[in-house]
Each structure stands twice: as structure tokens, then as C-alpha cells.
């Protein structure tokens, strides 16, 4: 099943075209990794999928992105419900400077999804889902910033799954973490794969190879605009890349 169907996506920051003609189908309940050198539009692409680019002035989208067949940029679709369905985890852990509980409860509260004892249940369930419950169950009232970075990132994942999204976008979620914390987040991703469609941007080739089912390779065209140079199963991309640039990149011949 295709969860997200992107066709001929162009994206502009003002007059600068950051993405050109990206066409890809993202498979439901799989992990898709996006790789490629810095500055070729991976983050930009990710932020198109939950319309976070709308918050930047002067940006423009052309082409279509369908979520379960519905155009997310059509006039009738609303950003708030889109962002509930498509959650995002950022590069640096960014829990709110509030308690652990309030962080996870933020989404359900704001969206008016649950109250009272249901809310506590939802928080516990989400923290368990993010493999964090055992570590924080005795300090739900503590400031989230007192957790380690790895725990903070898993808290951010718990915060996202608390609103029960369908897709989770992760933009280099492990780049601020140490190797052990990174492995825990990877384990978590594999567990989440059962329920969620996950798209992850990563600079770490081993990580892409370890966790993802599908992989997309971004590159710059001759006008310095980002393109999706190659897309396929992770196995195919890493063992028989069709594109010479992909091969050079994954074997480390580029930065």
C-alpha cells in the first residue's frame, strides 16, 4: 500500500527552487530512509509532507502530495489535522521545558482528544511505545530537560505518538546522540514500524542500511536544485545502485 504519493513536487524558497520534480511513493508501515549530501533538500522535502514549510514566509509548492489519496495541499485540507496524522521528530531533541508528563500530554490536550484518567493512560501507553516508561515512570513530574539527550529524543517520539499519527517524519533524529542512545532509537524505530509509516533523514549510511526497508537518494541537479536521484528498496540501493552517484556516495567516495 502506498501511504504518501508524491508526484512532480517542486519547492521554492522565494525564487530559489530547492526541489525539482520529486516523484515517489512511500510505502505504508515501512521505514523509508532519505540519504544524500547536505543541502540537497532532504529536510525541505520532509517538511513538505507535514506542511511545516508553510511557517516560512515566501515558500511555494508545486505538484501533488497525496496522503491516502487526498491532496494535503488542497484548499479543503486543514493543516492542524494533517499534522496530527503526520508527526515530526527533529534533529535536536526539543522537549518543552515542562514536566515529562506535560510533554507527552501536550498533543492530546491541545487537540482535545482525551481528558482526566484517559489522559494518564494515553501518556503511559505512549511512553511505553517509545520504550521510555520504565526509565521515567517515577519522575513524570520532573522537568523534561533533566533527562539525558537520548531519553529526551525518545520523549519527543512519545510526544508524537501520543496523538496517534499515521506517519512519523524524523529529520536526523540521532545526529545529536551517542552511539548507544542511537541504537536504542533504532530499535524503537523497528518496533514502531508495525503501526506507523516512518520516513527518516540520515547521514549515517549504516543506519539507513540497518533500519530502513526503502531508501531514496537525493542529489543536486545542474541548477543546484534538489532531486530524488534514485529510489528503491534499501537492499537494491545498497547492493546494486543503478546510479553511479549513489554508488559513490554510499561507498564513501563523497562527503
Amino acid at each position: 500500500m502506498t501511504k504518501l504519493d508524491v508526484s512532480r513536487l517542486d519547492f521554492y524558497y522565494g525564487s530559489f527552487r530547492a526541489l525539482t520534480g520529486v516523484t515517489v511513493g512511500i510505502e505504508e508501515r515501512n521505514i523509508t530512509s532519505l540519504i544524500g549530501p547536505s543541502g540537497c533538500g532532504k529536510s525541505t522535502f520532509l517538511r513538505c509532507l507535514n506542511r511545516m514549510n508553510d511557517t516560512i514566509k515566501g515558500t511555494r509548492v508545486e505538484g501533488k502530495i497525496l496522503l491516502d489519496g487526498e491532496d494535503i495541499y488542497s484548499i479543503s485540507s486543514d493543516v492542524v489535522s494533517l499534522r496530527c496524522r503526520v508527526g515530526m521528530v527533529f534533529q535536536r531533541p526539543n522537549p518543552f521545558p515542562q514536566s515529562v508528563f506535560d510533554n507527552v500530554a501536550f498533543g492530546p490536550r491541545v487537540l482535545g482528544q482525551t481528558r482526566g484518567s484517559d489522559l494518564a493512560g494515553r501518556v503511559e501507553e505512549s511512553l511505553r511505545g517509545a520504550d521510555l516508561w520504565d526509565e521515567v515512570k517515577d519522575r513524570l513530574k520532573q522537568d523534561a530537560l533533566s533527562l539525558s539527550l537520548g531519553q529526551q529524543q525518545r520523549l519527543c517520539i512519545a510526544r508524537v505518538i501520543a496523538v496517534q499519527p499515521e506517519v512519523i517524519l524524523m529529520d536526523e533524529p540521532c545526529s545529536a546522540l551517542d552511539p548507544i542512545a542511537t541504537l536504542r532509537v533504532e530499535d524503537l524505530m523497528r518496533a514502531l514500524r508495525e503501526h506507523y509509516t516512518i520516513i527518516i533523514v540520515t547521514h549515517n549510511m549504516q543506519q539507513a542500511a540497518r533500519v530502513s526497508d526503502y531508501a531514496g537518494f537525493f542529489w543536486l541537479n545542474d541548477k543546484r536544485s534538489g532531486i530524488l536521484a534514485e529510489y528503491g528498496t534499501t537492499r537494491q540501493i545498497f547492493t546494486q545502485p543503478r546510479d553511479k552517484r549513489t554508488e559513490d556516495y554510499i561507498t564513501g567516495r563523497f562527503g
Binding site: 492542524v80 515530526m88 522537549p95 521545558p97 501536550f106 498533543g107 490536550r109 496523538v163
Partner: protein
């Protein structure tokens, strides 16, 4: 090489001397206040000094009505100014388009520069009649009139410090809030404002420190009756603040008299209150810095 090192040392010493002399100056003022004010304790019985009646002519030196007068006027002013100032800061920082911010910010700075006697004048001729007519008070010169003028004076400080606090909130919190499906307003009230809380408290404290020490405008509009402001409608009646008392009576007392000492004692009380308020504000700032540094 040698030369530059020497000038470095000279500049550093100079700055250190200046820094210490500022502290020294504050201490000196306090010592002076103590010297002129403390004798009142040997001249007036403590219950009298802490009493409810201020009639220096009849030997009553109770400062309670004056302290309560100051507190009433100031706290009311901040209670009005805080929501207004916070809303303005949020608007300027988070909502207003760039060009509106460019106009608003300097205008707010200009507000801070209006001399307090001008504000007092404005209070007497515009606010006091308005208070009398709208709130139906016997006179327009009431505690609430003073509070409104102080609100006006407190707003610029409050707005600009609160705005800095909002500005210091990392963009990543904003992004996280929006990405969770929160609206812009939900993100502001549930994420950004709470994250800036300690800065906002600091803003309120600094504004309060400024308001409680304000003399001229308050003296012109509060009616200056040294009565206990303890009725439920005390806000709608005249009061007298500590500052207004000192300013009004200092010119008429004989140096070295009990009344003279009592006025200085009021100065001590005011100094201590202001010092405490500013220290609280400073501690909030330092605590924030330390936490920021760890992240």
C-alpha cells in the same frame, strides 16, 4: 607587546575600581539613610512607628498606612499592567508583521521617556475626572487613579523585558508545538509563554520596583490622605504612598527633629523593599542563565 599588556592591566583595574565604587556608593547611601533614620527608633515607641496613624504634628508616626498605600497602588498597577504588557509583548514579538514591529518598538521606548510630572499632569486633568465620572467616586484623586498612571509608567519596562524573554525562547519549541498540530495561539500560550515564564516574572518585578519608587506622578493624582486603605473599596478612595509622604514633608521639617528621622526611616523601608524586589528579579535572571548554560 609589553605595552599592550600593561594597558590591558590598567583598563582592567579601572573597570574593577569603577565596579566596586558603584557598590560602595549604594552602601554609602544606605549607611546615610541608616544614620538619619535609625534615631527614630529611640525617639518613638515601636508600636507608634508601626501604627495605623500618621499625624506627625501630634506625635503619631505610624507608617503602616503609607506602606499599605504604596503596596496597594503598586500591586494594582502591576496587576493591570502584567496582562496588558504580556499581551502587547506577544503581539509585537509573535503576531505583528515586520513593519508593524518596526513602528511599535520605538514607540514603546518613547513611552518610557515621558517625564513623570507630565504623566501626573495627564493624570490630574484627564484620568482623575474620568475616574470620578465613570466610577462615581467623590474625588478623582484616588488610589486607582495612581494605579492607572503607574500602569502606564510600568508598561514600557514590562513590554520590552517580556519581549526579550519571548525572543529568547528557542525556535525549536515553536516548531515542535506547530508540528504537533497546535495552532499558532495554542503554541504561544501553551509553549512559548510558559517557556518564557521566568523572564516574564522578572519583567513584572522590575516594573514593580520602578512603580513603587515613583513619586511625582503618584503624588499628583492619589489625593495624599494618610488613611488606612483597608476598606473593600479602598482603591476608590484617596491614599498616600511612602514616596509622596517623603517628598511632600521633607521641605518643611526641621533637620534633626523626630519627624525628620521618621521620614528617613520611611526611606529605609522603601530602600529595603525595592532592594528585595530587584534581588528577586536578579535571581530569576541568574537562575535562567545557569539553566540556559547547561543545555
Amino acid at each position: 607587546m609589553h605595552n599592550s599588556r600593561w594597558s590591558e592591566f590598567a583598563v582592567e583595574s579601572l573597570i574593577r575600581v569603577l565596579g566596586f565604587s558603584t557598590v560602595g556608593l549604594v552602601a554609602l547611601i544606605f549607611v546615610f539613610l541608616l544614620r538619619e533614620g535609625l534615631p527614630v527608633l529611640s525617639e518613638v515607641a515601636l508600636p507608634n512607628f508601626l501604627g495605623r496613624a500618621w499625624y506627625p504634628t501630634f506625635g503619631s508616626f505610624g507608617i503602616l498606612p503609607l506602606v499599605l498605600g504604596s503596596v496597594l497602588v503598586t500591586v494594582t498597577a502591576i496587576a493591570i499592567a502584567l496582562p496588558l504588557g504580556l499581551a502587547t509583548a506577544v503581539f509585537v514579538r509573535e503576531v505583528a508583521p515586520g513593519w508593524a514591529r518596526e513602528i511599535l518598538k520605538p514607540m514603546i521606548e518613547v513611552l518610557a521617556g515621558i517625564p513623570s510630572v507630565v504623566l501626573g499632569f495627564f493624570g490630574m486633568t484627564m484620568v482623575a475626572p474620568w475616574v470620578r465620572q465613570t466610577l462615581g467616586t467623590a474625588t478623582g484623586l484616588t488610589a486607582i487613579t495612581g494605579s492607572l498612571i503607574l500602569t502606564y509608567m510600568a508598561l514600557p519596562t514590562l513590554i520590552s523585558v517580556a519581549e526579550d524573554a519571548l525572543d529568547a525562547v528557542p525556535k525549536s519549541y515553536r516548531d515542535a508545538g506547530l508540528a504537533m498540530g497546535a495552532t499558532q495561539w495554542q503554541t504561544i500560550w501553551r509553549v512559548i509563554v510558559p517557556a518564557a515564564r521566568s523572564g516574564i516574572v522578572t519583567a513584572a518585578m522590575l516594573a514593580m520596583g520602578r512603580a513603587i519608587g515613583e513619586t511625582m506622578a503618584v503624588m499628583m493624582v492619589t489625593g495624599n490622605a494618610a488613611r488606612m486603605p483597608t476598606e473593600w473599596d479602598a482603591l476608590l478612595r484617596p491614599v498616600r504612598t511612602m514616596t509622596a509622604t517623603v517628598a511632600a514633608e521633607m521641605g518643611e521639617v526641621a533637620k534633626g527633629s523626630t519627624h525628620y528621622h521618621a521620614l528617613f526611616a520611611i526611606g529605609i523601608v522603601l530602600f529595603v523593599i525595592t532592594f528585595a524586589i530587584n534581588m528577586t528579579a536578579a535571581r530569576a535572571i541568574f537562575a535562567k542563565r545557569r539553566r540556559g548554560g547547561l543545555r
